[in-house]
Symmetry: C2
Subunit: 126 residues, 2 copies
DNA sequence: AAAATAAACTTGCAAAATGCAAGTTTATTT
DNA sequence: AAATAAACTTGCATTTTGCAAGTTTATTTT
């Protein structure tokens, strides 16, 4: 069982880089946020079927955590939640952009992959 | 024993964000790179005594991995290695900058922490 | 030159995070 | 009313990280 997900983590240091990585530096958070930012995903099942195949327990855990940490929030009923980025969550965009730029420059085929992905989604070019 | 460190990872997807996170998205890589970028650290022991207290096995593992992946390289003898960022590694700066900016804006006391840290080091303001 | 120190690892074991496959529970459709 | 779907939950295996204590060879110190 995933008891508590990522540990409430007793702050490694007050370094802004370290703190930010403790907030969203796990294996999945930024990918979920990417899906919200670029592909306009908002529901559990939409997040579930992204290319990286997150598993259900982890997704559930991350959605709770990101919510607790004020990066996302939801509206709707318990069985039909719609998540969106909060003001704080939106401020992660520069990070995602920088990560994406590095990737598009250095991973062959990744730029094309993005184009493909955008075809099927809410078409958000930036 | 840390057999292989972070798995050679069978690529989760061709998404540039996902690929980049597989490259440096573990718990320590970006902190080591931060130490090189901002604090001009270059040796095993210098990395060891950063505020976040990485343990020796993990540090060793990460240094090997970052080297294998072409983000850092070293000169000097086996017992006196000096690491530096490669051209590719330097291209991670925009990511670190974005992560740092978010942190300085949202974690109270983190900006002051940076000032403190810079006092004792090679004084690199940006 | 011998002893002490230090730099760069290595080892073994424990704990935490992630992954996988298969449920369960209510709402919503058919 | 039955089938489907959305949002979880559970149990267990694997991977990754953390901790404490070595080891080995170079460099200083005495």
């Amino acid at each position: 069982m995933v008891k508590k997900g990522i540990k409430k983590s007793e702050i490694r240091s007050m370094c802004p880089i370290s703190c930010t990585l403790e907030l969203v530096g796990d294996k999945w958070s930024l990918l979920i946020i990417r899906d919200m930012l670029f592909f306009e995903k908002s529901t559990y099942n939409e997040f579930l079927d992204s290319g990286e195949k997150i598993s259900t327990n982890i997704l559930n855990d991350r959605l709770i955590m990101l919510t607790e940490r004020g990066l996302i929030s939801y509206t709707g009923t318990a069985k039909r939640k719609r998540y969106k980025l909060t003001k704080l969550g939106l401020e992660l965009k520069p990070i995602i952009d920088a990560v994406g730029s590095f990737g598009m420059k250095h991973f062959e085929g990744s730029k094309e992959y993005v184009q493909q992905q955008l075809k099927g989604s809410g078409r958000k070019t930036h």
